[in-house]
């Protein structure tokens, strides 16, 4: 693994998340106390199956149990983590308007750099040229000569580009990648509808994990992702994309964790 202090801090953040989830969140309490888990083992003698990781569809079905006992939201944020990854996802440092074109994302991304605004465009609405306020906003921004960044599935981005007037410069685009459907470079964001943005495809061609906010663990069921900084809904050791086998190791160029599937 990459430099050992950074790894230890990353690992410590994960262990804190596991401990907190076991002590306060009904879903993980029930799963790990009754079935068990590994790495770490919380109840002596109970190691469970799949290392204690849960498939995303099961977590989604039991979202009501992902809020801590003290209360909290049970609504996932599919746009979580986008702002922190944009710096690595494009060559430009900032854009006036960041548009997420995805049917799973209902609320605009938060935490964007100063001067940037975020908005959401449903793919179906992208075809309603002229009538859609977000589309008008994109056109106006481009007409003013300011930069627009469109994020979403490649086919949705193509659809958006087709709807914009040909005389305008095209928006910058960063496609979504799903863990079970990895795409090519040079840019891209690893996205999951439940957990949000998890990593970024950088110029080295490797999929870098958002290590400040996400932990990845290899389990028998596949790569399990943990959102470190969101406590409700608490999402720990979630197998996304049906559980995709893979490895976590250090990027030789950037010395940060990358995943190989």
């Amino acid at each position: 693994m990459w430099n050992s202090l950074a790894f230890r801090l990353w690992r410590a953040a994960y262990l804190r998340a596991v401990s907190s989830a076991f002590a306060t969140v009904p879903l993980y309490r029930e799963t790990w106390a009754l079935r068990g888990r590994t790495d770490p083992v919380l109840v002596p003698g109970k190691t469970g199956t799949g290392g204690g990781a849960l498939p995303a569809d099961e977590v989604h079905r039991r979202l009501v149990d992902t809020a801590p006992l003290a209360g909290g939201s049970t609504e996932p944020d599919p746009a979580r983590g986008l702002a922190g990854l944009l710096g690595h996802a494009t060559e430009r440092r900032s854009h006036r308007l960041v548009v997420v074109v995805d049917s799973d994302v209902a609320r605009p991304p938060t935490g964007l750099p100063r001067g940037s605004r975020g908005c959401v465009l449903h793919p179906d609405a992208a075809t309603a040229a002229g009538d859609e306020p977000v589309l008008r906003e994109i056109v106006d921004t481009l007409r003013r000569g300011e930069r627009v960044l469109a994020v979403g599935e490649a086919k949705n981005l193509d659809m958006l580009s087709a709807e914009l007037p040909a005389e305008l410069p095209p928006p910058d685009r960063v496609p979504h990648h799903r863990i079970d459907r990895p795409g090519g470079g040079p840019f891209g964001l690893l996205h999951d509808p439940l957990l949000g943005y998890l990593g970024v495809l950088r110029e080295c061609g490797r999929l870098h994990v958002d290590r400040r906010h996400v932990y990845v663990r290899e389990t028998p069921g596949g790569l399990a992702f943990t959102v470190l900084d969101r406590t409700s809904p608490r999402l720990v050791d979630v197998l996304i994309g049906g559980g995709v086998p893979g490895e976590v190791h250090a990027c030789p160029k950037h010395a940060s964790p990358v995943i190989d599937t």
């Binding site: 309490r29 009754l34 209360g71």
Partner: protein, 378 residues
């Protein structure tokens, strides 16, 4: 007489306990595997105190060792240092609050057993134990637990019905509007219902979510209505949300009837569970969607009617229906009550053998018979 205390999370089932539960007709909440599920998913996990005489099980108490009313954490395993932390114990069935959490063989000396239990609990819990609260005890049990310096007070009673010989006889005593509501639900094509025992075809997550939301709503309403002293209310609550794992295991038991109400599209409107024992049937859980979320008003009346029909069919001696909404239950024929008492035993008096109770609880005018000294059959 000696008492052994077991933490269901870690300790194996005490020998002889399962047969004691079976022979005394105790409800499923006393089954050790269910206690284990409950303990792992509780803020204040219950432990089981088994009373033995000459090695034979003659009684048992379920005890919650509580750390706080408002903790947002599940109960931790008991490390050695926690023995100094202030805690109190509640002898209470958190998921079956109309019944006492103590059961003794009819021939056992309940007073001696309780005092022995208190001494064992002090040893087990450590110096941080502040006292024991015996909640929802029947009059005879409260008498065994009371004594000088132990305050005793009467709390909300449990509603009781002694089922008549026929369902029609029960129905004849209902008010017209109650009968009309039941008939309207029966005739409503938008309400589909099914019932079964030992069910494994239900989604426990869906049911648990509805049940926990229903309980939270009830408790918020009680609090808003000024019921500050309600110990089972969320604001002073030592209980925990019901977990899907617990509910799944409970519903799979052969003596637990589960009835669901759904729309024709399959949306869950409400459900009830009933412990369908011949000696002592109990309307156990009830939860429904509020009207504002698409719920059907009066659904609970239909559920109670169906429970009475099952109790009549089973020829149950009694059917109990919990401690809340007594007026509504009286309208459904549950006009008898079982009086319940809470006794507080402060730490200095735990294990104290002194004299009879200071203030004997009043005799309940409409009490019904009990097979074991648990009061759990009314």
């Amino acid at each position: 007489m000696n008492v052994e205390i077991s933490d269901p999370r870690f300790d194996p089932e005490p020998s002889g306990w399962a047969s004691f539960v079976g022979s005394h007709g105790l409800h499923p909440v006393w089954r050790y595997p269910l206690m284990r599920l409950e303990a792992w998913t509780a803020r204040n996990p219950p432990v089981l105190a088994v009373v033995r005489e000459h090695g034979r099980v003659v009684g048992g108490l379920q005890v919650m060792v509580c750390r706080s009313w408002r903790t947002g954490r599940f109960g931790p395993p008991a490390p050695r240092l926690a023995r100094w932390r202030p805690r109190w114990a509640e002898v209470y069935l958190p998921l079956h609050s109309g019944y006492p959490a103590a059961a003794f063989h009819p021939d056992a000396d309940a007073r001696a057993a309780v005092r022995e239990f208190e001494r064992a609990l002090v040893r087990w819990a450590g110096p941080g134990l502040l006292g024991v609260l015996y909640r929802a005890m029947t009059a005879d049990l409260a008498g065994a637990m009371a004594g000088p310096g132990r305050p005793c007070r009467e709390i909300d009673p449990a509603a009781v019905l002694n089922p008549p010989a026929t369902f029609e006889a029960w129905r004849a005593h209902l008010d017209d509007d109650v009968r009309a509501t039941i008939d309207a639900i029966d005739a409503d094509p938008e309400v589909c219902t099914d019932v079964g025992a030992g069910r494994s075809d239900l989604d426990p997550t869906e049911l648990a979510a509805l049940l926990n939301a229903h309980r939270a709503r009830q408790d918020a309403r009680a609090w808003a209505g000024g019921q500050r002293s309600r110990f089972a209310g969320l604001h002073l609550d030592t209980r925990s949300p019901v977990s899907p794992a617990y509910l799944e295991s409970l519903l799979r038991r052969s003596n637990v009837l589960t009835r669901t109400y759904r729309t024709p599209a399959g949306r869950l409107l409400g459900f009830s569970t009933m412990i369908n024992d011949r000696a002592a049937a109990a309307f156990h859980h009830w939860a429904a969607l509020p009207k504002a979320d698409g719920g059907v008003p009066g659904l609970h009346r239909h559920a109670y009617a169906q429970a009475v029909a099952k109790a009549v069919e089973r020829r149950a001696t009694t059917l109990t229906a919990g401690r809340a909404m007594l007026e509504e239950k009286a309208a459904l024929g549950f006009r008898d009550v079982r009086e319940l008492h809470t006794v507080a035993a402060p730490r200095p008096l735990l294990g104290d053998r002194r004299g009879p109770q200071a203030a004997p609880p009043r005799e309940t005018p409409q009490r019904t018979t009990t097979p074991a000294r648990t009061g759990r059959t009314t």
